[in-house]
């Protein structure tokens, strides 16, 4: 006969918990008041431990995300950071009517509208290409991943060497008798930035797509081939559906990266570039430098609303195309 009092504590606990679960399920008699009190104490202790572990993260999120978010909203509805007079939507109205904001929003939208689909389509195409049986697959993969390893300062230097007024591209075009073009200070500037963006981001997107392509069930593809499905039918009806969540992810990442292209533009062209490459981040960075926090905050809120809307639409699209795959 076993003496329950001498049982190891851990063992007793597991038995009690098991017993409680079983009793509950079967709708039998409730545990005694003493056992219930013990359980409550243990649950409370467990919660305290959880709280202690969660607190740093919670505090961090509050401090660095939630509080600043409310601070931004606050700044967006006061006249300036000194007087704090409530002006409701005046700052939003000012921002809407600001020519620089409109220019920046238009440029950013144009850039994203061209660069993001290109980044998704080209990287998907490259992934498909590398997924097929071609020679030097490994070398190609390394080649496209190389830009990820190059520091941003070096990338900018390379682009300056290429697209400066006295750069290599103009030297080459001069061989054909063409006049020099100031690539970064002309209507062509956004093309240069799009090329830079694609060069830098294609490799990463391609790896994501290659991974997703590799996870498509082989049996489905084999069945499709046996059923005499054409390659485009396999692509549209099977691969795209299985890739839908990856496409969404790559699109969102590319969209975010397209907003971050400011860094490269800033290093290439300074804080007031030619107007075709003046982006939202320029507007925000410059207004911050001029202590115009109210304009900056209003613009940030507007931009975040647009981002939320775009990402929402992307989620809905993904749900629509990928629902039967994920079941």
């Amino acid at each position: 006969m076993r003496d329950r009092k001498k049982e190891p504590k851990a063992r007793r606990m597991s038995l009690q918990i098991g017993g409680h679960g079983l009793a509950g399920k079967k709708g039998q008699a409730q545990p005694s008041a003493a056992r219930k009190s013990g359980m409550q104490k243990r649950n409370a202790k467990s919660r305290r431990i959880s709280t202690a572990f969660l607190a740093p993260s919670f505090l961090g999120v509050m401090l660095f995300f939630v509080v600043p978010f409310f601070v931004v909203i606050y700044y967006a509805v006061v006249n300036n950071p000194i007087q704090h007079h409530f002006v409701f939507l005046d700052n939003f109205s000012n921002v809407f009517h600001n020519a620089a904001f409109r220019q920046a929003a238009s440029n950013t939208m144009k850039f994203s509208a061209i660069a993001v689909p290109l980044a998704v389509a080209l990287s998907l195409g490259l992934a498909m290409l590398l997924d097929s049986k071609i020679p030097f697959k490994s070398q190609f993969r390394t080649f496209f991943l190389t830009p990820m390893m190059v520091p941003i300062a070096s990338i900018v230097l390379i682009w300056q060497v290429l697209f400066h007024y006295n750069g290599m591209v103009n030297d080459i075009t001069a061989l054909f008798g063409t006049d020099k073009i100031d690539w970064l200070k002309s209507e062509h500037a956004q093309v240069v930035i799009i090329v830079l963006f694609l060069w830098k981001n294609l490799g990463y997107n391609m790896i994501l797509f290659m991974s997703a392509l590799g996870s498509i069930p082989k049996d489905i593809l084999e069945v499709a081939i046996l059923e005499s499905a054409k390659p485009w039918q396999i692509f549209v009806h099977i691969k795209i559906r299985y890739l839908s969540s990856t496409i969404l992810f790559v699109t969102i990442m590319s969209l975010i990266n397209s907003f971050k292209v400011f860094r490269e533009i800033y290093l290439l062209t300074d804080d007031y570039p030619y107007n075709t490459v003046y982006m939202m981040q320029h507007f925000m960075n410059n207004t911050f430098g001029n202590l115009d926090y109210q304009k900056l905050s209003a613009a940030a809120i507007l931009m975040s609303l647009v981002m939320v809307a775009i990402i929402g639409i992307l989620f809905l699209t993904e749900n629509y195309f990928g629902k039967d795959v994920e079941g």
């Binding site: 919670f58 401090l63 020519a99 220019q103 100031d182 007031y272 030619y274 107007n275 207004t287």
Partner: protein
Amino acid sequence: MGKRKNWRGFGSLAVSLLLSLALFLCGCGGGDAKENKGAESGKEASGEEDGEEYVYVAQYLPLNDYCEAISSVMLGNDQNVFFLGMKDEKDILFSLKIGEDSVQEFPLEVEEGMMVSSMGKDADGNLLIGFMGYEGDPEAGGTVKSVMVKKISPDGKELETLDTGNAFKKKDSMSFYLSDLLQDKEGNYYICSGKDIYVLNQDGSVYCEIPVGEYISNLFAMRDGRIVAAYRGSNGYSLEEVDLAGKGLKALDTSIVFEYGVFLGGTDTDLLYTQNSVLYSCNLSDEKPTALLNWIDSDINSNYLQDFAVFPDGRIVAVTVDYSSAGETELSVLTKKKRSEVPQKETLVYASWYVPYYVEKDIVAFNKRSEKYRIEVREYGDDSTALEEKITMMNTDLTSAAPPDIIDLSYCQLSLEELISAGIVEDITPYLEADGDIKREDYVENVMRAYERDGKLYAIMPCYGIDTMIGKVSDVGTGNKWTLDEMMALMDSKGPEVEILEYVNNNYMLHTMCTANQSLFVDEENGTCDFSGEEFKKILEFANRFPKEANYDENGPSEIEKLRNGQLLLLARAVTSVSMYQMYEYEFGEPVNFIGYPTMGSTGLILTPNSTTVAMHAASENKEGVWEFIRFNLTKDRQEKLGTANGGFPILKSALEQMFENDMEEEYYVDADGNKQRTSKSTWTTNDFTVEVYAATKEQVDRVREMIETAQPDLAINEKVYEIIKDEAQAYFDGQKSVEEVAGLVQNRVQTYLNETK
């Protein structure tokens, strides 16, 4: 039930976390404020011991009460101060025991033809008094006749006399003078004269001459007796010891980086020195010096420091001479006290990333005078901080929860328009209107308007200069303004060997022309610009006539020679006094016209602040105090003192007229025959010439008055706009792009900037 418990748990968790977050944020704020204070240079003046904060409290004693004029002053080794002055027309050495009122007087035997020149100390604390005799006028072309040094014990006994014989005879009186005088333990004498150090044997013969090549700011003995020279060389500021064996200087073995300052040997440490208003103490082996105090916190202007010492009982003693006045000499004894024991004043915080000497002077004077307020300096960064970082620190602080009360507009990177737009600066008109003593009509109106925007006044410059171009009447005519076309025509009328301005490059001209004519291109109020017109292209073409790098010809003719023989046409200078106006007239050698910068519209004479020009922070909790400081520099007493020593023209009309009266008043002296002789009012000395300036004529004063009344505010070109212009103009200067292409790019980029600011 269970659910409710969970929610209650979550609620208590959320509440406790929010509370801790709130406490954390409160802590952040407190920490921030403390950190800001810690960044103040003034903070170092006080310290904390056993949780109690200490401050140095000063007692002042004006030494001018004891004699007529003090020529030299220094602290002795026995807690006394020695000073040389005149009493009953006799040279007297005074010795004042610190803490006692009595002063001992030791009459000095000065040989005929000799003058007291300098005072120093030997290794035992005896005094060294240097005498110099001249042949001819020492201030104009004279030469040195003889140099003598007398050693006097602290009780006034003459111990020995060093006669240097012919060692310095015939030296130019303008370049040879005794700036420092020392004797080492071995008995060698050291004379510092500008850029040279002379080591003398005990018999007065020269042991060696050490040419340093740069002006030596200090020659002093360290605690261990080594003689050290402090000067700014090609590798920055450095301290080097005199190497008698090598007959030269050798670097001190230390990792401490020194900047310009006043250096002495310490009593407990190797060095005691003042740098950027802070008194430091250090041993050469230390990694960094120890800050003892900030002189400003004890209402002492570090720019006026002559000598200082730390006494064994912890008191710090300083002697200052106010060069902007008639040489008022003051002894200050600083005693360490608990802050709680010192009567507290309301604190105003002055913010800047650089504290110029005139601000320090004004703050010290205000703190001494005000019984209610006290200004503390918040200087952003230190010597090791990059300028951009300092500017960022200041800009961030201006919008922080604990902003400064006083903003120095001369050292704030944000323009007044940006400060107004951000709501940072307060309109001081109500304070001016409510003030019983300061009446707007008593001040020069166009100078008052310099910081007025949309009918609101944000700052007042108490003292100012006029920035202008100066040319011969025969070249620029007698008009009071001219255009760029006229300037270009003048340039074209002369040969290619003639310089229009000395040592200027294309960027300088571009900046100057864009500043003077910015209103033609940029309309910041409406957010528009027009760089596509002919005027801007003309400026680019004009600037392109100047070289990319200004060539300095060391062996070429001097500025005055070039001006007089027609090789140089114009000077671009700031005029801050009538005597300076007279000096330029002399330099050109014929009638001149202060015509201003060429503009395409209004006058080209520009008002430039030459004194503490501050704005009131809109969030200041002590606006009355800030106004007290602003008005302090506008009072009659201050205004009459501000204009001295070429410090600029006062804004108070009566003080300005008083200054003009003084400028026109002849000065005389009585010669040996008892005849009244006209004498100069001031002497201007440059590298090229020396000129005696006599009383100004009414015409000269009238012209200066006219310049002041017609000058426009210093509307410095928006730096962001100029950066774009400069950036794009380089391609034109390099011959890469046409002037039209550059103008188009400038238009595009500047318009983006202006759009953003609307």
